[in-house]
């Protein structure tokens, strides 16, 4: 809310000398946060005075222009009392006019410094100003001619033009709708600024009593519209201008001046908080009826939109049909225009929830709607309508119709019992029941009782409904800055959970392995999955769709981290980072296609069954880890050449992560998109598949802007963390001598090395301490379709030195089993 300070101070007094900053500091501390202070003359410094044009001599110039050589009486403002000589290019004024004159030493908006300078053959000592030059709008270039009563030559012109007006912009929280008005802000100044007094309520006025002569109004839905006041003026002059001070104030408040009739309703809304609607009375046909819309009814609102109405919408109708969305926006057919001479003024109190729903349904945000949906004082409808009538009469030459229609009565405010020590218990401050009562009275509540307070909030505070609401009022007036700082003492905690610790460990491990963590949005589109090369029946194509995505291309919650991570890696390559290794850990969304999540009651704890129903309605959201790498794994340097990233790096990244949890990962051949069908490993732990790793399919690489041979992995971290080894028993190891045996076995290339190793292990028996594949050879020496696998075996007994031949015998048994299972032939 933007509020001109002078307007506020018209309704409350602050001690002389109180600065704007002191006022806004206090308002901020009590809950109306200062956003900005604006002043139209903020950029103008130096002498800016009233001048009277004494003489004005037109002088045609060679360039075709005619300038005026003027002498201007600026009183003593120039220090000499002599007339000031000024050259002026404008012609819309005459000798004898009062004009705005800036003298040398003055600075105009934009840092424009004024000095006496030679121009057109004269010394021009100052400038006669236009509105544009003063920063007061840019619609015309003409010189401002002041009214004759503006003041004497030489006087400061700022107050005349409102240039010294300060407008404070306050952030109004949704529960403090009353502060969306000068009335409410003035009241806040009264309770928060030290020494403030003399609150003058703009909504407190004598209003004519209701009588049967007013415009007929029938309220069919008194719950939706408890109070409806109608007044009427005739003989209004539609060409009457809006007085400057009203234009200035509503402009400062952020509203656009339109016409006197509209401006006046806005002015009164800003002043009292009560939205007002004005109808062109001559266009209204018969009685006004307030009701809910019927199915199929439509209305063209003031903004030109043709709207299908909802049976929940509150409307105002006349004999012609619906003429307005009550409290939200008027209709086109009864709109006030440049020829309107009779005005029907509506000030009605509307049900806030209906206002909120209608505004949301029709996507209408308006100053009126904003106030009506948050709650307006229902008792000021008559006063607000009367104030509008007064202004229309005063400034528009209108005649007030004696008829006054008032339908309904304002709902009574409830009385709530508040424990006298509640504010103290909530705040941790010493606040007595008396102090609480005092604070509550200050904000307008009626308070009785001492131990337990009976509190009735004022009608402009519909937000005060719970005991806790009143404690907040008390505490903010006592001052949030008075709340002491005390550390609570929790019972000893369990620390991080094991899963939380392990997730950190995985992150650190991957960073140690050279991977850089990134955070991607979880939004994905079907095109991304196409880029991954996922077949139509891939379960990862089952996605949770967003109703209102930011972009149609990313309308789903992703089921896999790979599209985002591949895209990120591709972008890095695009930025010239050719060696990229990135990882991400995040949840993915896997729909369960369950029923809806219930909306449970809030007046009690839901049952465990109800809570289970909530969870059952949610998609599965397992935590995934994905890595993508491309370019060089090891950089080239004086130590040797580069080592390019390969499929094994992706597997090893997962193995490293698993090893950090004490787990071993087994790999087996798989063919899954987006991987290279011959270079994709299915990864499992304890027989449970955790994900896949390998080289990315070359087509996929291209789709994501990555060079061929880029690699990727994606695994389910929840499973991994679930299986993490806990309380591993200490190992025992032998101190007897080791016996080493190497074997080279030739097998078909299709035989997985893991199978050969498993056979060797099984065949070697208990004496085998370790086995390591140290060479893989394919080529002429082993023949087409064959490969040689060279293993280093280490044998050791736990209780003795191995006897001559024992290790060799175990080796032979291992080779024999490998031969049997895999067709391996020992290489000579």
């Amino acid at each position: 809310m933007k509020a001109p300070l002078s307007w506020i101070l018209e309704h409350v007094d602050v001690p002389a000398g109180t600065t704007t900053e002191e006022i806004t500091d206090r308002l901020t501390l009590t809950g109306l946060k200062l956003e900005a202070v604006e002043s139209p003359g903020r950029e103008i410094t130096g002498p800016l005075v009233i001048g009277r044009v004494l003489t004005m001599k037109p002088e045609p110039q060679k360039n075709g222009k005619t300038i005026n050589w003027c002498t201007v009486d600026v009183g003593d403002a120039n220090g000499t009392g002599e007339p000031q000589g000024i050259v002026c290019g404008a012609h819309n004024f005459a000798p004898g006019d009062l004009v705005v004159t800036v003298l040398p030493g003055g600075v105009l908006p934009g840092g424009f410094e004024i000095s006496a300078r030679k121009t057109y053959g004269h010394v021009s000592a100052g400038m006669i100003c236009s509105a544009r030059e003063l920063g007061l709008g840019d619609d015309h270039d003409g010189i401002i001619v002041l009214p004759e009563d503006a003041g004497k030559p030489g006087e400061d012109v700022r107050p005349v033009l409102g240039l010294d007006e300060e407008t404070i912009e306050l952030e109004i929280n949704p529960d403090r709708a009353y502060a969306l008005s000068i009335r409410g802000i003035a009241r806040e100044v009264l309770v928060s600024v030290e020494g403030a007094s003399g609150f003058r309520d703009p909504a407190l006025r004598d209003t004519p009593p209701a009588n049967p002569d007013g415009h007929p109004v029938l309220v069919e839905d008194p719950e939706g519209c408890p109070v409806f006041v109608a007044r009427r003026v005739t003989g209004f002059d539609p060409s009457a201008p809006t007085p400057d001070h009203i234009v200035r104030r509503i402009t400062a408040a952020g509203m656009r001046p339109i016409s006197l009739a509209v401006d006046v309703t806005n002015y009164v809304m800003l002043e009292t908080g009560r939205p007002i609607h004005g109808y062109d009375a001559d266009k209204v046909q018969g009685a006004l009826v307030v009701r809910r819309a019927r199915p199929g009814e439509r209305l063209t609102t003031l903004d030109g939109a043709d709207r299908a109405l909802d049976p929940g919408d509150l409307v105002v109708a006349d004999d012609s049909g619906i003429i307005g969305l009550g409290g939200v926006m008027g209709g086109e057919t009864t709109e006030m225009s440049g020829s309107t001479t009779s005005i029907l003024v509506e000030a009605a109190h509307w049900d806030a929830v209906s206002m909120f729903r209608t505004g949301r349904r029709h996507k209408i945000t308006s100053e009126a709607g904003k106030r009506n949906e948050r709650g307006v004082d229902p008792t000021i409808c008559e006063a607000a309508a009367d104030r509008v009538v007064e202004l229309l009469v005063e400034h528009g030459g209108a005649v007030a119709d004696p008829g006054v229609t008032v339908v309904g009565t304002p709902p009574a405010m409830p009385t709530i019992q508040v424990a006298g020590d509640l504010a103290a218990r909530v705040s941790g401050m010493e606040i007595s029941a008396e102090r609480s009562a005092e604070c509550l009275r200050a904000v307008g509540c009626e308070v009785s009782g001492s131990g337990t307070l009976s509190v009735t909030p004022p009608p402009w505070r519909p937000d005060l409904t719970d005991a806790q609401d009143f404690s907040e009022e008390v505490i903010r007036l006592v001052g949030y800055d008075q709340v002491p700082s005390v550390l609570p003492t929790p019972p000893s905690g369990r620390g991080l959970t094991r899963a939380q610790q392990l997730r950190r460990r995985i992150g650190r491990t991957l960073a140690g392995e050279g991977y850089v963590e990134v955070v991607n949005f979880p939004f994905v589109g079907e095109a991304d999955l196409d880029d991954l090369g996922l077949p139509a029946d891939d379960p990862r194509r089952d996605l949770l769709r967003l109703s209102n995505p930011l972009s149609a291309e990313a309308a789903f919650m992703t089921s896999t981290l790979l599209p985002g991570l591949l895209r990120t890696a591709g972008k890095n390559v695009g930025h010239g980072t050719t060696d990229v290794a990135v990882f991400e850990t995040a949840t993915v969304t896997l729909p369960r296609h369950a029923g809806p999540a219930p909306i449970l009651p809030v007046d009690r704890r839901p049952s465990d069954e109800e809570l289970a129903a909530l969870d059952a309605a949610l998609p599965a959201q397992p935590l995934h880890l994905a890595v993508v790498a491309t370019g060089d794994a090891d950089a080239p340097g004086w130590w040797g050449g580069a080592r390019q990233v390969g499929w094994a790096d992706a597997v090893e990244a997962v193995r490293s992560a698993a090893a950090a949890l004490g787990l071993e990962v087994e790999a087996s051949a798989a063919a899954l998109a987006p991987w290279h069908p011959g270079r994709c490993a299915e990864l499992s732990v304890d027989g449970e598949v955790i994900g896949h790793a390998g080289e990315v399919h070359p087509v996929v690489c291209r789709a994501f802007g990555l060079p061929a041979r880029s690699v990727a992995a994606e695994v389910d971290l929840d499973v991994l963390i679930d299986k993490a080894v806990h309380l591993r028993p200490a190992p025992s190891y032998s101190s007897y001598p080791v016996a080493k045996e190497d074997v080279a076995l030739v097998v078909d290339t299709s035989v997985p090395a893991a199978d050969v190793e498993a056979a060797l292990r099984d065949g070697a028996g208990d004496l085998l301490e370790s086995i390591r594949l140290f060479d893989v050879y394919t080529g002429d020496q082993v023949g087409e379709g064959r490969k040689s696998l060279a293993y280093a075996l280490r044998f050791r007994a736990s209780d003795r030195t191995l006897k001559e031949g024992e290790a060799a015998a175990a080796r032979d048994a291992a080779v024999a089993l490998a031969a049997e299972r895999t067709g391996a032939v020992q290489r000579a």
């Binding site: 809950g31 946060k33 949704p174 403090r176 929830v353 729903r357 909530v426 941790g428 806790q468 404690s471 907040e472 505490i475 949030y480 800055d481 709340v483 002491p484 700082s485 005390v486 550390l487 609570p488 929790p490 905690g493 620390g495 991080l496 939380q500 650190r508 960073a511 850089v516 963590e517 990134v518 955070v519 949005f521 949770l544 967003l546 109703s547 209102n548 919650m557 972008k571 980072t577 060696d579 990229v580 290794a581 969304t589 809806p596 999540a597 909306i599 449970l600 009651p601 809030v602 009690r604 704890r605 839901p606 809570l611 909530l614 309605a617 949610l618 998609p619 090891d634 340097g637 130590w639």
Partner: protein
């Protein structure tokens, strides 16, 4: 080897004469001293202490002496050989030490050569910031709570006193999921985790919940459809706003530096009542002399940090906590935002663009 020479005249056995043994000893010691390197010394050893050396040959002659002469000759030769061996060993040590020193000198490398052969990894600064914050609270005995990102509408709104017609619902532009009548949203705040905690645990509750949240904000330098929040919740007997203030002052001083405190301003959140905006004292100018020119706080001396308040009793009721026995407080801050002003980051998007140059800069610690 010859047998005992029983009629041998000791006078005739020249090599065993005292002056002769002395000569051999002197010659050996001179050669040892002259050996310039280990190879030379090896030759000297062969020549003067080997099996074919004069002293070794002389020693063999001792047996040929008459028994009465053997002792004296034996002693003489033995002493000479001992002296030679000692000298050899000493010279060996000297030469080895010299050799090693030379070798080490020759093996010197240019230690300014680059050593980064393996790429350096790093963790995302928001992860690090989240962990840092979690650790601050864990150190006080709090726990870290978690919950799903795709969340039930009831937990994200209704349970938190944000009924279907609550004006504040429109303050948080929510991502809804299909089908729309299934009441499932992307959580707009981490508060549903607080509700879940209260629904599943008995007080006392002291938890922080860092996590991702979503709003339908267009992506620009200060807005993102996904961002990170940390919320805290305490539910215990006798909890007041003073405890909230104490906790946030402590949090602020841990995160931004000793002596950094907070300021409360009245505000409105459905979840809490009373509610407050929290400003943190600018940790750059500290509201002192440099305030007017301070970029971090834009001359305000304070930085808007987050929201907080006393848990609304309505929320306690919906979450199964008896408000007659327990009270609580809650607070919430943007992790990204805290990061931005803590690390002087102008454009939020750097956090989500995935440029490895950004994350790498933070390594594994912030």
């Amino acid at each position: 080897m010859s047998g005992p020479n029983t009629d041998y005249d000791p006078v005739e056995v020249t090599p065993l004469k005292a002056e002769h043994v002395e000569e051999m000893r002197e010659a050996a010691l001179a050669a040892i001293a002259a050996a310039a390197d280990l190879d030379a010394l090896k030759q000297v050893r062969l020549d003067h202490a080997g099996d074919r050396s004069p002293l070794a040959l002389a020693n063999r002659e001792i047996g040929a002496l008459p028994p009465q002469a053997r002792k004296e000759a034996g002693q003489r030769v033995g002493q000479a050989r001992g002296a030679v061996n000692q000298a050899l060993a000493a010279r060996q040590r000297v030469l080895e030490a010299e050799h090693e020193q030379r070798m080490l000198a020759e093996e010197a490398v240019d230690v300014t050569l680059p050593t980064t052969r393996h790429r350096r990894g790093g963790r995302h600064p928001i992860t690090l910031q989240s962990e840092l914050i979690a650790d601050l609270f864990v150190a006080m005995g709090w726990e870290v709570a978690e919950g799903p990102v795709v969340e039930a509408e009831w937990l994200n709104f209704d349970a938190l006193n944000l009924g279907p017609d609550h004006p504040a619902r429109t303050m948080q532009d929510t991502f809804w999921t299909e089908p729309a009548d299934h009441h499932v949203v992307l959580r707009t705040q981490t508060s549903p985790v607080q509700a879940r905690t209260m629904l599943t645990r008995k007080p006392p509750i002291y938890v922080v919940c860092p996590g991702r949240v979503f709003r339908t904000d267009e992506y620009d330098a200060t807005h993102s459809p996904m961002f990170h929040q940390v919320e805290g919740l305490v539910v215990d007997e006798g909890i007041t706003m003073a405890h909230l203030k104490g906790t946030l002052d402590h949090f602020a001083s841990q995160l931004f530096g000793d002596g950094i405190t907070t300021r409360f301003r009245p505000s409105y959140f459905p979840f809490t009542e009373p509610s407050a905006e929290v400003d943190v004292r600018c940790f750059v100018c500290r509201g002192g002399e440099g305030q007017a020119a301070c970029r971090t706080c834009r001359g305000e001396g304070w930085i808007e940090w987050g929201g907080c308040g006393v848990v609304n009793p309505r929320v306690l009721v919906a979450c199964g906590v008896d408000p007659a026995v327990y009270s609580g407080f809650a607070f919430g801050m943007g992790i990204d935002r805290s990061f931005m002003f803590r690390h002087d980051l102008e454009d939020l998007r750097a956090l989500f663009e995935g440029d490895v140059r950004f994350s790498s800069a933070f390594g594994t610690e912030i």
